[in-house]
C-alpha cells in the first residue's frame, strides 16, 4: 500500500523539547536495545568492538552550536528520529508496498518481508530517518515502538515508546496530535512547536519545541574588560573601594 491514506484517525507522534534535552543519548541507547529484540529483524552492528564500528540506529542525537548575532553561542542537543510525516515521500517512492503509513494511527512502518532493500525511501527522506540494516539488508526505521504502545502485557505506564520512557529529563513526550486536547497538542500550542524543514512539504507529525529565550546578563565575554564594573557603596567593601579609587588620584 504505497499510496498514503487521505487522513488518519489518530496522529501518534513525539514532541521533543530542545530546551530540556541534555544530550545524554539514553533515548538512542534504549531505542537500540528495545528495537533490536522487538519489531522485525535485529538492529545489527558491524565491527561493534573493532576499529570502525557502524550499525543501524533509529534515533541519533546531534549537538549544535547556535550563535545569535548579539550574544554568545549556546549548545542545543538535538535528537532525530522518524517524524511519521503525513505526506511521507518514503511511502510513495517504495516500489513494493513494503513502506506504508497506517490509516488508524498514522505510524509509518516497513514490512521487512516485502522490502527489497533498494534504499530509495532513505534517499527520499530529507531527515535521514531511515537506515539500511547492514546485516539483514532491509530498511529500518522508528516504529514509534508499535510493539510497546499497544502491548497489553506491559503495565499501562510503560505503553509509550522506549525513548520517551527512558528520557531522564522528560524532554520527550508521546501522544495523539489529532486530539487538540492531548498533552502533546497543548505543549505544541503553548510553546510554538515547529516542523523540521517545512519547505520539503512532508507535513511531519513529530514536533520540536525550540529553546526558550535565554536571559541575557550584561557580561558578554570572559575578558575583564567586558565584565560590568562592580559597585559597592556600603560597608567595608565600600570604604575599600573608595580608598583604593582615591589612590588613582595620587598616581
Amino acid at each position: 500500500m504505497t499510496m498514503l491514506p487521505q487522513t488518519t484517525q489518530k496522529k501518534l507522534g513525539l514532541v521533543i523539547d530542545l530546551d530540556i534535552c541534555v544530550g545524554c543519548h539514553a533515548c538512542a541507547v534504549n531505542c537500540k536495545e528495545w528495537n533490536t529484540g522487538g519489531y522485525g529483524a535485529a538492529l545489527s552492528d558491524t565491527e561493534p568492538y573493532g576499529d570502525s564500528p557502524t550499525g543501524a540506529w533509529l534515533n541519533r542525537i546531534h549537538t549544535y552550536e547556535v550563535t545569535p548575532e548579539d550574544a554568545p553561542a549556546s549548545i542545543v542537543h538535538f535528537p532525530k528520529s522518524c517524524l511519521h510525516c503525513d505526506d511521507a515521500p518514503c511511502v510513495t517512492v517504495c516500489p513494493t508496498g513494503a513502506s506504508y503509513k497506517r490509516s488508524e494511527d498514522g505510524i509509518v512502518l516497513v514490512d521487512e518481508d516485502m522490502c527489497i532493500g533498494c534504499g530509495l525511501c532513505a534517499w527520499s527522506c530529507p531527515y535521514g530517518a531511515r537506515e539500511m540494516d547492514p546485516t539483514e539488508n532491509v530498511m529500518k526505521k522508528c516504529t514509534l515502538c508499535v510493539d510497546r504502545i499497544y502491548n497489553e502485557n506491559l503495565e499501562e505506564v510503560d505503553r509509550v515508546p522506549a525513548c520517551v520512557k527512558t528520557c531522564p529529563a522528560s524532554a520527550r513526550h508521546f501522544g495523539d496530535f489529532a486530539d487538540p486536547n492531548s498533552d502533546v497538542s497543548k505543549m505544541v500550542a503553548d510553546r510554538g512547536g515547529i516542523n523540521l524543514m517545512p519547505e520539503m512539504e512532508t507535513s511531519p507529525v513529530n514536533k520540536y519545541l525550540p529553546p526558550r529565550p535565554k536571559t541575557r546578563p550584561e557580561s558578554t565575554g570572559c575578558g575583564s574588560a567586558s565584565v560590568a564594573p562592580a559597585v559597592a557603596d556600603k560597608g567595608v567593601l565600600g570604604w575599600l573601594d573608595r580608598a583604593l579609587t582615591s589612590l588613582d588620584k595620587l598616581g
Binding site: P53, G117, V138, I194
Partner: protein
C-alpha cells in the same frame, strides 16, 4: 550520493538499449535477413535486459525483485520496472515477426518507440522526483537521460543499420547532431547543478534544525564518532574529489571521440567500424558522466552533518 556501479551500468546500458529499440521501432533501415534481424533484436533487447539485471545487484534482497512491479500507482521505480517489461515483451513480438516474415510492423514499432522513450523517462524520474537532491530535482534531468539514451541508440543504429540516411538526414550528420544536442543539454544541466545548492527549497542548517531563528547553526558534535549509513550513502566524498577531471574525460570520450569518428565514417563511408568504436567510447564517457551524476549530488540530510 553513493555512486553504485550496478546503478551506473544499469542507467547507461539500458538507456542505450531502449534508445536503439526506439530507432528500430521507428523503422531505421536494417540488413534484411533473418539472422541479421535476430542479432540486432538480441543486441537491443540484450542491452536492456543486462542493464536491468545489473540493477538487481544494487538490491539488498534481489530475490524479491518481482514485488517491485506492484506499486506503479505511486512509485517511479515500480513504473520503470513495469514499462521495461511491457516494452521488452512488445519488442519480442516485433522481433519474432521480423525474423519469421521479414516484415517490420510499423504501428507496433511506433508503439515500441514511444514506450521505450517513456521507459527511459521513468528511469530518470526515479532520481528527478527526489526533492531531497536539488541537483536532480528538475525536468532537465529527464531531458538528459532521454537525450543520452537516444544519442547512444543512434550511434548503435548507425553501426548496425544499413541506412545511409534517416528521416532525410545523412546518418553521420544525424549522429553528430544527436551527440552535440545531448551533451549541450548536459552542459546546461551541469551549469544548473553547480549553482543550485539548496536554493530551490531554501533549506539550510537553520530550517533543518528549526533553530535558524535563534542564530547561526553549526554542528558541534556528530551523533556518533564513526561513519554511518547516512554519511556513506548520502554524503559520498571520494567521488567528488576528481570531479573536474572526470567531466573532461566524460566529454572527451562521450562527445569528442564519437563525433570525430562519425566524421570519419561520413568521409570514408565505413560506418560499421567507426561507429562501433564510437559506441564503445561513448559508453565509457557516459559511465564517467553517470558516476558524477551520483557522486556530485548533495542530499538534504547533509545539512544535519
Amino acid at each position: 550520493m553513493h555512486p553504485a556501479i550496478s546503478v551506473i551500468f544499469f542507467t547507461v546500458i539500458s538507456g542505450a538499449g531502449f534508445g536503439f529499440m526506439a530507432l528500430i521501432g521507428l523503422g531505421w533501415a536494417m540488413p534484411n535477413s533473418a539472422v541479421a534481424a535476430f542479432l540486432i533484436s538480441l543486441l537491443a533487447g540484450g542491452l536492456c535486459v543486462i542493464g536491468l539485471l545489473s540493477s538487481l545487484f544494487h538490491l539488498g534482497h534481489p530475490e524479491r525483485f518481482w514485488r517491485a512491479f506492484s506499486q506503479w500507482k505511486s512509485s517511479w521505480l515500480s513504473r520503470e520496472g513495469v514499462l521495461s517489461v511491457l516494452t521488452l515483451t512488445l519488442f519480442a513480438i516485433y522481433a519474432l515477426v521480423w525474423m519469421v516474415t521479414g516484415e517490420r510492423i510499423g504501428v507496433l514499432g511506433f508503439i515500441i518507440a514511444v514506450l521505450a522513450v517513456i521507459t527511459i523517462y521513468a528511469t530518470s524520474m526515479i532520481y528527478a522526483s527526489l526533492k531531497t537532491v536539488p541537483s536532480w530535482h528538475n525536468a532537465l534531468t529527464s531531458v538528459c537521460y532521454v537525450a543520452f539514451g537516444l544519442a547512444s541508440g543512434i550511434v548503435l543504429a548507425a553501426t548496425f543499420g544499413s541506412a545511409s540516411s534517416f528521416a532525410g538526414i545523412s546518418v553521420s550528420v544525424l549522429t553528430g547532431l544527436a551527440l552535440i544536442a545531448a551533451w549541450g543539454l548536459k552542459l546546461l544541466w551541469w551549469r544548473r547543478a553547480d549553482g543550485v545548492g539548496f536554493s530551490d527549497t531554501g533549506s539550510d542548517a537553520g530550517t533543518a534544525t528549526g533553530l535558524g531563528h535563534l542564530g547561526k547553526v553549526k554542528l558541534f558534535e556528530k551523533p556518533h564518532s564513526g561513519e554511518n549509513y547516512l554519511t556513506t550513502e548520502m554524503m559520498h566524498q571520494i567521488g567528488r574529489k576528481h570531479a573536474k577531471k572526470l567531466r573532461t574525460i566524460s566529454v572527451g570520450l562521450g562527445l569528442l571521440v564519437p563525433f570525430i569518428l562519425a566524421a570519419l565514417a561520413f568521409v570514408t563511408g565505413a560506418h560499421g567500424f567507426f561507429m562501433f568504436v564510437a559506441f564503445i567510447s561513448m559508453i565509457a564517457g557516459l559511465f564517467a558522466e553517470r558516476w558524477l551524476f551520483f557522486a556530485e549530488a548533495k542530499h538534504a540530510v547533509s545539512l544535519y552533518y
